[in-house]
Subunit: 191 residues, 2 copies
Amino acid sequence: MTDRAWTVTTSRHVLQDRWISVRADDCVTPAGVSVAPFYVMESPVLAHVLAFDTDDRAILVRQYRHPLRILSLELPGGIVDAEDADPVAAAERELREETGYTSGHLDHLATLAPNPGRSTSLIHLVLARRVMPGMATPEPSEDIEIVLVPRAELAALACSGAIVNAAHVGLIMVGLARMTALEDSSLATLK
Amino acid sequence: MTDRAWTVTTSRHVLQDRWISVRADDCVTPAGVSVAPFYVMESPVLAHVLAFDTDDRAILVRQYRHPLRILSLELPGGIVDAEDADPVAAAERELREETGYTSGHLDHLATLAPNPGRSTSLIHLVLARRVMPGMATPEPSEDIEIVLVPRAELAALACSGAIVNAAHVGLIMVGLARMTALEDSSLATLK
């Protein structure tokens, strides 16, 4: 919240079902300018996971993305369900379902937003270390290919354009920076 | 397009006006699984600009984002209009309108997508070098604060969590990597 926030004079849902919710807010800016309607996507909270196996390879997933009709290389993850204890548990569950990998070493790294200009969605970024392979249980509609990327190559890959999803490029780069900071502080503790 | 693409059996618009367009596609996956409806945001093409002034400072903008009711630090940019000759021209126009800065040195760096799992939108990333200050002409509803960040500090800032918009973190990191590649190839030409 900020003193530059808009005042909402009226608000209504214009589209709402199990998979989507769109709200139309009639707003007035602090300068008195009317913005009506302003459409807000009421989108779920997400958890995505930057996971590394015992050979320090990142676990990425390549999957079909219908709006652009492309295959997209992304971090595993998905919606934080009501049954998930917290975003870390959601990330762990999504990693296991989509890829089969499991980990006992999880850390919450950051909370970002995929599209703050249009959507209420947040993305929790979770680090999973020393993950072990297992049996994936994807949704019937999901067709997920696992792609392993050595940690030393991940930043260059993410910034090469090969990862089209700009938000996932951002998550990967934030994740790598936070990992380095975590490891530096662990080393400092050991000294 | 890919051989893993879904087949669309029926498609209809469920919400459509000047500011928003939502399509509901009834789809069948290659494995024969029905996904119906799948909602697609038919979102505009965007152009965002990584601009540096003659002191090698990046031009960022801090502005109110209503869905999350926060101030968000982002790259200047916006929708590629029908009147724009191309995405580079759109980026130049958005930079000028939002910040007043102008540049005669523009390069198209990359094409990414903010949300390929939900939206048709693409983001063109444009580099603007040696920009010069001028008079901004924002929309009446826009309240834009310009933030100058030395190039040497930009990657650390983007990965610190201070930039909440994950897609813009991605754009900044892709942009910095491409700039370095451009400069390396220019240096190689000089040698």
